[in-house]
């Protein structure tokens, strides 16, 4: 790796971690209702509560909180579905795009409500501006805010003693949007527009190319089958291209929240590899930073709210310790390139540039790939399908770890806290004491709920992949033969089953089969995790606080960081090694010529 590359990585991590403290503290103040913005915007909040008929003082039990969360998200799904199906009759559709197919609309609705943002469609060719803005952008905000609300409820579970309520979902949701996501998005959108990200309602524009280009297109018969000559070679005809359609739209506003809210659904089909979505190295830096900044800072929010900031730093340290080594694996694998090309005389110093944008290069593409899969973002600035086998394994595995390394806003930390509960449980037993975390005893009920949280994503990923590889409907979408094709399916389900939304490409996923399967995977892994987490929160809140003593396992030490990292890695490794062995691992071994 070059010094320049190292410098970029250090700069990125430095800014990310430096922002954790101020932003984290601010968010804690927001949720505790004592930030300056809460005071200043109190009338706005009151107005929102009045027109929606919400009593902001009403405390909710965990069941009430979960119901509000579920109902709200379900309404979101229905709204996005309806918008897509009716967009043909609705305004702000300059291209006159027709209604989206039911299976694709179903998939997209769930995808955006669950903060997954898996995109089976191509944005600029499928969705009207209205659908993008009123459907997707709104969901980008509220799905992220929903995750943050669930996290806040869990934190209150740790903080409160002998209590039966966790706060008010509507208030937490409103504050997440009004005081955190909206201002940050506005700021980021402005910065991005400054870098040249488009923001317009104008129709797509046709431009004449500076230099006409051409290519050979295979000819087809009337039935759509490729024509072949006598030797069996395809018959082609030359096509000259002198004009191009430039897709435009209100991209900057959506890009800002897609990054900040770990949504990842791009305005354009190729996401942040598109020059109108991510034009410069600086816009690239800002967008990468936005992926992890809230998830990282929430760790400090957690620390502040539980009254011991060390507890938050420990979690952030654990996340960083998993993130950084895996980042280096990706960078080094991509930099190393493919030995098969080297054998053909290609200079290996160039690394593996297939599927990467030259304006970003290897380090920034690898960094983005690692960050976007560590967090449940899923936006891309390079095509992961074209990564080397191990370079592609890292993003896939980061998702399979359960999206707890930074993870989605809110959801990443609550997932990590569930892992912390499991780590504390095993460690507690090893020191001969009923395990406690932050003064709350971890007992059978919490373990049961934690078990569900840990079980559901692998079930979606492995189960979904198993079904797909057994059915023709699943197999026929695979473009690449061999182990790589298997990786493509596994990647798709890893992405949906962990609410990431990142796509490997190489898989035609906009089919009824995949739209349905992946839609269900996204649905289950979002709500079958959030609801048990709220159940844990409710159980913890009801417990008394156990003051720490000499026999208590300290959870603010480097050893606990190691333990937490160990549990996440071991569970992730043991669950997915067999599947990974048949995909990227064997692909890598074959690439390097092992036999």
């Amino acid at each position: 790796m070059t010094a320049n590359g190292l410098l970029q990585i250090c700069g990125y991590l430095g800014v990310l971690l430096a922002l954790a403290k101020p932003l984290g503290r601010y968010m804690a103040a927001v949720y505790e209702g004592r930030s300056a913005t809460v005071r200043v915007l109190a009338s706005v909040e009151r107005f929102i509560y009045r027109i929606t008929g919400i009593d902001p003082e009403a405390e909710m039990r965990w069941t009430g909180y979960a119901s509000a969360f579920l109902v709200f998200n379900l309404l979101g799904v229905l709204a996005v579905y309806a918008l897509q199906r009716c967009q043909g009759f609705l305004p702000l559709n300059p291209q006159g795009l027709p209604a989206v197919a039911p299976d694709s609309a179903f998939n997209t609705a769930i995808s955006f409500a669950t903060n997954t943002n898996w995109q089976g469609y191509g944005g600029e060719t499928t969705l009207s501006h209205l659908t993008q803005m009123l459907g997707l952008t709104v969901q980008n905000f509220v799905s992220a805010a929903s995750g943050m609300a669930v996290l806040v409820a869990l934190i209150r579970g740790f903080v409160r003693r002998n209590a039966d309520t966790l706060g008010n979902f509507w208030v937490d949701l409103t504050r997440s949007i009004l005081h955190i996501l909206l201002p940050l998005s506005f700021l980021l959108a402005l910065l991005l527009i400054g870098q040249g990200v488009v923001q317009t309602f104008e129709p797509y524009r046709n431009v004449t190319l500076v230099e006409a280009t051409g290519y050979d297109r295979p000819k087809q018969d009337d039935g759509g089958h490729p024509l072949v000559d006598a030797d069996g070679n395809p018959v082609t005809g030359h096509v000259t291209v002198s004009e191009q359609t430039l897709a435009l739209g209100p991209a900057a506003s959506q890009v800002a929240i897609k990054q900040l809210g770990t949504n990842g659904g791009g305005f354009f089909s190729v996401n942040s590899a598109h020059p109108f979505e991510n034009p410069t190295p600086f816009s690239n830096f800002l967008e990468m930073l936005a992926i992890l900044v809230i998830s990282g800072a929430l760790c400090h929010t957690f620390g502040v709210m539980v009254g011991d900031t060390r507890q938050g730093w420990v979690i952030l340290a654990a996340m960083t310790l998993i993130f950084v080594p895996l980042l280096f694996v990706t960078v080094l694998c991509e930099q190393g390139g493919n030995p098969a090309f080297a054998a053909l005389g290609v200079d290996p110093a160039g690394g593996n540039m297939e599927g990467k944008e030259t304006r970003f290069g290897i380090v920034n593409s690898a960094l983005w790939a690692t960050a976007t899969t560590a967090a449940s973002n899923g936006s891309v600035n390079a095509m992961h399908d074209s990564f080397t086998p191990l370079g592609g394994l890292v993003p896939m595995w980061l998702m399979q770890l359960g999206e707890v390394v930074f993870g989605g806003v809110g959801s990443g930390l609550y997932g990590m806290l569930v892992f912390a509960i499991v780590a504390v449980f095993v460690a507690g037993l090893m020191i001969g004491r009923t395990p406690e975390y932050l003064g709350k005893k971890i007992e059978a009920y919490e373990m049961k709920m934690a078990a569900i949280v840990i079980l559901v994503p692998p079930l979606m990923v492995l189960g979904g992949t198993a079904v797909a590889v057994m059915l023709d409907a699943g197999k026929s979408s695979v473009f690449n033969p061999g182990a790589h094709g298997f990786s493509e399916i596994l990647y798709a389900f890893s992405s949906a089953g962990n609410n990431n939304g990142s796509a490997f490409a190489g898989l035609a996923a906009n089919t009824p089969f995949y739209n349905l399967m992946l839609g269900l995977a996204m649905w289950f892994s979002r709500y079958w995790l959030a609801v048990p987490v709220l159940a844990i929160a409710g159980a913890l809140a009801a417990k008394n606080y156990v003051p720490p003593g000499a026999g208590t396992l300290p959870t603010h030490t480097p050893m606990f960081v190691g333990l937490l990292v160990g549990v996440v890695i071991i569970v992730g490794a043991l669950t997915f090694i067999p599947a990974l062995a048949l995909g990227p691992i064997v692909e890598h071994l074959m690439m390097i010529g092992a036999r």
């Binding site: 090893m430 020191i431 078990a451 198993a466 590889v469 182990a483 300290p554 064997v586």
Partner: protein, 690 residues
């Protein structure tokens, strides 16, 4: 007797033989269902057995020899787990049996009316119910646990406590409980039976080690949930391998899909069989270890809770200090010789047969060479202690010597027109502040000085408290003394806190306040007035010498009646949890090596490139899979001693403890199977078995 017979070695031959038989009895599906992890192995074994039969009669998926070998070792895995449990049960039962043998069935004299001298009929002891009243005369065995309602007698309780000196049992007060199986040596007792047959402590304890009635403790339940979750994860990981493998064969165009036998082998190797197989053995062994320490626990929950204790309440008298105060110094007033005071004090105490009085005589003799004078030759008349005067003393040859509490002597001196100088007040105060009891001595209306009676803190008790502190347990001394005295003794004994002028209500309040803070409270007690506090405490150890009420209120009974036994109880509780935690960690860490053994072997025909993962260099795919399965079965047997003995506990603080155990069982768990599987593979090849 417990202390002589019931210490079976770790692997007593008789217990092993019985356990071997029981390992097969436990193959009944209903028994297996209780342990979800091992039930998966059980089902897997059945499945491979069917596959073996299929390979014999028709087209098998693999050479029948290979399937047979796998099947064979899978069944062994189940049997080894059964064996571990059976050994633990056998040992605990042997322990209990030796306790039970103390409870021979004797003929009881059941009284028609609850009074001495009423008519009685002879009935078998086992037919007695709660509330029956029996007469027990010299030479009779006590037929069942009960409470003395009339009479005083000396009782030999060595069958239970191992202590050969007889103890006095009498009606009323703290010495009214009698235990079944002990023997009345002299006099008679009328006893009301307090337990129904089968409800005695011993019966409850025996039920706890017998599989059918054994209840899982809270942590055991939580751990089982975690193990089930892990098992489900591995079930998903292996079951989905079949379609993955079929697809891989299709797309790679070579090899054949993974065999079901191999999938079952992989599954069994991955699921936490080590901890799953030993889990119940650990629990039973924990109760057994308690019994070896002569502690009878009435619930496994209490044993487990002992490991969590934060606060320990201890009675001062008899626990922290010796039962009696002893004279430690003579403090004369100015102008009075120490010798003179010692002489007067000794004379006043010659007829005082209380331990305190004896200690005054002994101190005078040891320190001032005053020989004990013969009471009769002195021609003295003794004034015995009375509740009215609260003094005792002696009258001889015109001398009136009195000793007593300061206020009592003040009244006495002032009656004699003497003065009670300020200096005495000061001495009395100083003594009290040191935690001792002052006795003022006066002669003919003149105060001579003060005797300091000291509470003697038991030897070695301070070190035990230091140990408790290192375990993270706060010690609180309970005493009826005034706060000044209590503070001094608390400081000398090294307890963290004390409750002075304690009443039963104050004790109960203290326990509740600790519990409200979220702390877990342990308490030892023996008196009836301890019963409410014992009932409130989370871990309550009743002394066997205590009253029936105290024993009923506690959830453990210490047969040795040794209050510092709680330290060992806490250790045993912690060991139980630690052993579970350590073996869970070990079990999971083992999986890494097993993957390296099985994954390359399972896909050898489809993706030969995966052989790069065969880092152990195992000979053939068949030997690799078989070695992993054999290792997985043998490690259960290898760890049985650890499960029974428990992971050793040292009070070194939570962090150090965790680091040590992570190193041993975590890192060890990563390394050991690599070596073990490789060795088994070498052996299989050397013996030409694969």
């Amino acid at each position: 007797m417990i202390h002589q017979t019931a210490k079976p070695g770790l692997f007593d031959r008789e217990i092993l033989a019985e356990a071997l038989l029981n390992s097969f009895r436990k193959l009944a599906p209903r028994t297996q269902l209780k342990n979800p992890v091992m039930f998966v192995v059980y089902v897997g074994s059945l499945l491979t057995t069917v596959l073996y039969v299929q390979s014999l009669i028709g087209q098998g998926e693999a050479p029948s020899g290979f399937i047979l070998a796998i099947t064979f070792w899978l069944w062994f895995t189940v049997l080894f787990a059964n064996f571990a449990e059976a050994v633990a049960e056998g040992r605990a039962k042997a322990q209990a049996a030796s306790l039970r043998s103390a409870k021979r069935d004797v003929m009881a004299k059941k009284l028609d009316e609850p009074r001495y001298g009423a008519n009685y009929s002879k009935v078998p002891g086992s037919s007695l119910r709660r509330g029956d009243v029996v007469l027990i005369e010299a030479g009779d065995f006590v037929p069942a646990d009960g409470e003395v309602i009339e009479g005083v007698a000396s009782v030999n309780e060595s069958a239970i406590t191992g202590e050969s000196a007889p103890v006095i049992r009498e009606s009323g007060g703290d010495f009214s409980a009698v235990t079944g199986g002990t023997r009345v040596l002299s006099d008679w007792l009328v006893v009301r039976i307090t337990v129904n047959p089968g409800e005695a402590f011993l019966d409850r304890m025996i039920a706890m080690v017998e599989g059918a009635k054994r209840q899982k403790t809270p942590n055991e339940i939580a751990l089982t949930i975690l193990l089930v979750a892990l098992t489900l994860i591995f079930l998903m990981a292996t079951v989905t391998l079949l379609p993955f493998s079929i697809y891989s064969v299709e797309t790679a165009g070579e090899g054949r899909p993974i065999m079901v036998t191999v999938l079952v082998a992989l599954l069994v190797c991955l699921i936490p069989t080590t901890i799953g197989g030993l889990l119940s053995a650990i629990g039973v062994a924990g109760i057994g270890r308690m019994m070896r320490k002569n502690v009878i626990a009435t619930s496994g929950r209490a044993v487990e809770a002992a490991g969590d204790v934060d606060v320990l309440l201890l009675d001062k008298t008899g626990t922290i200090t010796l039962g009696n105060r002893q004279a430690s110094a003579f403090l004369p007033l100015q102008g009075i010789g120490r010798q003179e005071l010692a002489d007067a004090a000794q004379l006043a105490s010659l007829a005082d047969e209380t331990p305190e009085g004896r200690s005054v005589v002994v101190l005078a003799k040891q320190k001032y060479g005053l020989r004990e004078r013969d009471v009769r030759t002195l021609g003295a008349t003794f004034v015995h202690f009375s509740a009215q005067t609260r003094m005792s003393g002696v009258n001889l040859e015109g001398r009136q010597i009195r000793k007593g509490a300061a206020d009592a002597i003040r009244v006495y001196v002032e009656e004699q027109d003497g003065s009670f100088p300020e200096e005495v007040q000061k001495l009395v105060h100083d003594v009290a502040r040191r935690g001792s009891t002052p006795l003022v001595v006066a002669e003919n209306g003149r105060v001579l000085g003060v005797i300091e009676l000291k509470d003697i803190v038991k030897g070695g008790i301070k070190e035990r408290f230091v140990e408790l502190r290192r375990m993270g347990i706060k010690t609180v001394m309970i005493t009826g003394d005034n706060p000044l005295t209590a503070a001094a003794i608390a400081a000398e004994a090294g307890v963290d806190d004390f409750l002075a002028e304690a009443t039963p209500e104050a004790k109960l309040k203290l326990i509740r306040s600790y519990q409200a803070e979220g702390r877990l409270v342990a308490m030892t007690g023996d008196g009836t007035n301890d019963a409410p506090a014992l009932a409130q405490a989370d871990v309550a150890v009743a002394m066997n010498t205590g009253t029936q009420a105290a024993k009923e209120a506690g959830n453990m009974v210490d047969l040795d009646s040794n209050p510092t036994k709680l330290i060992e109880i806490v250790e045993t509780g912690k060991q139980m949890l630690m052993t579970r935690g350590a073996l869970t960690t070990f079990s999971i860490a083992n999986d890494v090596a097993k993957y390296f053994a099985i994954i390359p072997a399972a896909f050898a025909t489809t993706y030969p490139a995966l052989n790069a993962l065969n880092v152990m260099g195992l000979a053939t795919p068949a030997s690799a899979i078989l070695s992993a399965v054999i290792y997985n079965a043998l490690i259960i047997v290898a760890l049985i001693p650890l499960a029974l003995r428990g992971v050793s506990y040292k009070p070194v603080g939570a962090s150090a403890l965790l680091r040590n155990n992570l190193l041993i069982y975590g890192v060890g768990g990563l390394v050991v199977p690599f070596i073990g599987i490789k060795l088994i593979d070498l052996l299989l090849v050397a013996l030409d078995l694969v």
